[in-house]
């Protein structure tokens, strides 16, 4: 009787992983992560039920607690990040990479699909996809990234 629950858990985990690897908005990344945590919790609950072992349920409670704390911290960080760059595009924070391998997001480049700019508004979603519309693949773009690779 556990099979459907485990399948649901697997599907949720895969969705979360997919969202984490493809989304660029920090909040959506965070939500994807939460999704993965939930799927894992579900797994724990299912196995706890199957083995009639309360240890699994303890883990579920534990994970939920940690996730709640994490949410508080992560959202505070998100607010700070937004204040720094006025954007939640995760590609804007790459400074930990090797300088020659970084392909910085062309912030001022009008061809980059930007979030719609509104006055005095909160963060909004960035477009999904790693390299939307093949912008970075195209050498013709006169962007800092292109200059860097050249």
């Amino acid at each position: 009787m556990n099979q459907p629950v485990l399948a649901l858990s697997a599907v949720l985990f895969a969705l979360g992983l997919f969202g984490l690897t493809t989304r660029r908005n920090v909040i959506l990344l965070f939500l994807s992560m939460e999704l993965m945590l939930v799927s894992v919790s579900l797994n724990f609950a299912a196995f706890a039920f199957a083995h009639q072992d309360l240890g699994g349920q303890v883990f579920v409670l534990m994970i939920l607690t940690v996730a709640a704390c994490e949410a508080a911290l992560a959202l505070a960080l998100v607010v700070q990040l937004y204040r720094m760059r006025h954007s939640l595009d995760v590609q804007l924070w790459q400074s930990l990479g090797d300088p020659e391998s970084i392909r910085p997001a062309p912030i001022e480049d009008s061809t980059w699909p930007r979030e719609p700019s509104k006055e005095n508004d909160g963060p909004s979603l960035a477009p999904a996809g790693r390299d939307p519309a093949g912008y970075l693949a195209s050498e013709s773009i006169d962007s800092p990234a292109a200059a860097h690779r050249g």
Binding site: L17, L20, T21, T22, R23, R24, L29, V90, Q91, W93, Q94, S95, L96, G97, D98, E100, S101, I102, R103, R130
Partner: protein, 652 residues
């Protein structure tokens, strides 16, 4: 006076040095930096003179003042003590007294210089080092302060370090002295080794105590050393002599002293004429009991001294720069002192008179040479730092007092009868004559006597030529100058020096005071010095008067030979091309070797290390492209890695 008070002599200038250095921190306070120097040197001078006048010695003829233990390793002790004896007290009195006078003169000369406080701090530091050099009871401690005076000299030659010529001269002085000091150190180490070999026989503990002067010059030790290790002792003495020759600017290491005139003139007067350069003479006097065991070394000293005296006098004759004349004159007079010391080679019993003659000339020379330099400083001050005698003449109209002071110094240096220089120079010539009477090396000493007399003539000639060209004749001054007499603060110490230059020789020499003091009361039968050889006195008096007459005649008559740009005058004007010789034989090969080594270092060693350094980046290059800095990339890699690991774990 309590013997411990002798520590005031070095410590007062040391404190003055520290206070002066502290004052240098503020421009405002720095203007008062001469205060501590005056007080410190004043205390040192008074204490030295009191000890000189009232010092009581133990039966050995000296007095050891305990200081502190520098180092103590097992049985070996390295004490720092002061040795008071007639030799050191004579020298230290000359040093502190002349230093005090030059320090009083200095504010007038250095007025308004940005480095005013620095000047006085180093000045006091020099006096501290010099007094410790003279008073230390131990050869090793002496060596330490030997280096310290060298450092102070370096700092003061390069005082105006913005001038390339000054910093070059400072480096040159330092390097030439380094050669000599290296030899000196080797000599000390050899002597130390010998002393530790015989230490059991003389019943001495190890450590630097072996190099204590009282132990070194103890007759029993000297005999033992000379008997057991004559060759080693000879080498050691030779190396120590080279150290002394370097510090006292004797051939072939004299090249640094004339260049040292780049420093402020009072420094030239004090360090490079009156005190530091006589440290070599003092050292040889100190080591005399051991030196006489190596007559070859003393003979070398005599010959080098004689040749230096002659060559430097010839060079001085053709210099146009007033300070250069005085510098070469200093070299020449130091050569005289070494010549005087060298006569002990003829017979060991001449050691006492040799030391006496050298110390006598050292003392009088300190006075008149310091006076001449300070007078040259006055001229420089009035002529806007010009010192080339071709640019001015007839200054007696503008600077009558300076003129008379210079004339007094010049007369004393030239050996005009009855003045200081006459007595002390005669003393040296007399001991050379006496040495020529001994059978060993008689020919050498006759020749050296002739050289000495020729030098005396040349000394008188160049000194009075310099005087006449500067102060006599038609007055001619550079256009932008307003010649003026110097302030009283500058003239008074010069007047004191002038009194010394005129009278000191007559007081100390013919009366036998210095001889009686240096040789000690217990050697009365062995009366002072070489005795007076009246014939020689007359000859040297005539020689110096003749030199003076020729000098005045040549300047008045405008003899062209002295300005000739060919033949011998040109050779002497170019300092016999000794600098050029060193340049071609030592400096350029050294530079070539240096460039070759630098090339090897850059291209071979450098290539090797660069190649090694290229390996890690090569491997790093392979991995660095994965570091994109994108979170999504990292997450992807993490997920793929997780899958791979799980797959492996499940299949296992």
């Amino acid at each position: 006076m309590n013997p411990s008070a002798a520590w005031l002599i070095p410590i007062a200038p040391m404190i003055a040095c520290i206070v002066g250095a502290a004052l240098a921190a503020s421009r405002q306070a720095g203007r008062w930096a001469h205060g501590p120097t005056w007080i410190g040197l004043g205390i040192a001078a008074v204490v030295s003179l009191v000890f000189l006048a009232t010092g009581r010695f133990d039966p050995q003829g000296s007095l050891l003042v305990d200081g502190f233990q520098w180092l103590s390793v097992a049985e070996a002790h390295f004490p720092v003590q002061l040795l008071l004896d007639p030799l050191s007290l004579t020298q230290v009195s000359v040093v502190t007294f002349v230093s005090l006078l030059v320090a009083i003169y200095s504010p007038g000369y250095m007025h308004g210089d940005p480095g005013y406080a620095r000047y006085f701090a180093i000045f006091s530091g020099f006096v501290f080092a010099m007094t410790m050099l003279v008073l230390s009871s131990n050869l090793l401690v002496l060596y330490g302060f030997w280096e310290l005076v060298g450092l102070c000299s370096y700092l003061l030659i390069g005082f105006w370090y913005q001038r390339p010529s000054a910093s070059r001269a400072a480096k040159k002085a330092f390097l030439v002295n380094r050669i000599a000091d290296g030899c000196f150190l080797m000599g000390i180490l050899i002597l130390w080794m010998l002393m530790s070999r015989i230490s059991a026989q003389v019943g001495a503990a190890g450590g630097a105590g072996l190099l204590d002067f009282r132990r070194l010059t103890d007759p029993q030790t000297v005999q033992l050393l000379a008997k057991s290790y004559p060759e080693w002792l000879g080498w050691s003495m030779m190396l120590i002599l080279i150290g002394a020759l370097g510090k006292s600017a004797q051939l072939p290491l004299h090249v640094w002293l004339p260049d040292a005139m780049e420093g402020p003139t009072p420094v030239s007067a004090l360090i490079h004429a009156a005190t530091m350069v006589t440290a070599g003479v003092y050292l040889v006097c100190r080591m005399m009991p051991l030196m006489v065991m190596a007559p070859g070394v003393l003979m070398t000293a005599a010959w080098l001294g004689g040749i230096t005296a002659l060559l430097a006098a010839l060079i001085a004759l053709f210099q146009d720069d007033l300070k250069k004349v005085l510098a070469y004159s200093t070299v020449s007079q130091l050569g005289y002192m070494f010549l005087g010391l060298g006569v002990a080679a003829a017979a060991p019993e001449l050691a006492g008179v040799a030391v006496l003659a050298a110390m006598f000339h050292l003392a009088t020379h300190a006075f008149f040479k310091a006076l001449l330099f300070l007078a040259a400083g006055n001229v420089m001050h009035a002529m806007n730092d010009r010192i080339d005698m071709r640019e001015f003449s007839g200054l007696k109209k503008y600077m009558p007092k300076t003129r008379w002071l210079f004339a007094a110094g010049a007369a004393a240096l030239a050996g005009i009868p009855l003045l200081s220089g006459f007595w002390s120079k005669d003393e040296i010539l007399a001991v050379v004559l006496k040495a020529a009477g001994h059978r060993s090396h008689a020919e050498s000493f006759w020749l050296l006597l002739v050289i000495g007399l020729i030098t005396a003539f040349l000394t008188s000639l160049y000194t009075f030529r310099a005087y006449a060209r500067t102060f006599e004749g038609d007055s001619k001054i550079p256009e932008d100058c307003h010649p003026h007499e110097s302030t009283a603060l500058m003239l008074v110490p010069m007047a004191v020096l002038a009194v010394g230059a005129l009278l000191l020789g007559g007081i100390l020499g013919p009366t036998g005071w210095l001889a009686g003091y240096l040789e000690g009361p217990h050697e009365e039968g062995h009366s002072h010095a070489a005795g007076h050889s009246y014939g020689l006195m007359v000859v040297s008096a005539l020689v110096s008067l003749a030199g003076a007459a020729v000098a005045f005649a040549s300047v008045k008559g405008g003899w062209k030979w002295f300005e000739s740009t060919s033949g011998f005058p040109q050779l002497a004007r170019q300092k016999f091309y000794i600098d050029e010789l060193y340049d071609w034989t030592l400096v350029r090969p050294g530079l070539a070797l240096g460039s070759a080594v630098a090339w090897f270092d850059q291209n071979v060693v450098g290539w090797l290390s660069r190649s090694m350094a290229a390996v890690p980046p090569f491997f790093g290059q392979l991995l660095r492209s994965s570091q994109t800095g994108r979170i999504t990339d990292y997450v992807t890699v993490m997920a793929v890695g997780l899958v791979v690991l799980l797959t492996l774990a499940l299949w296992r």
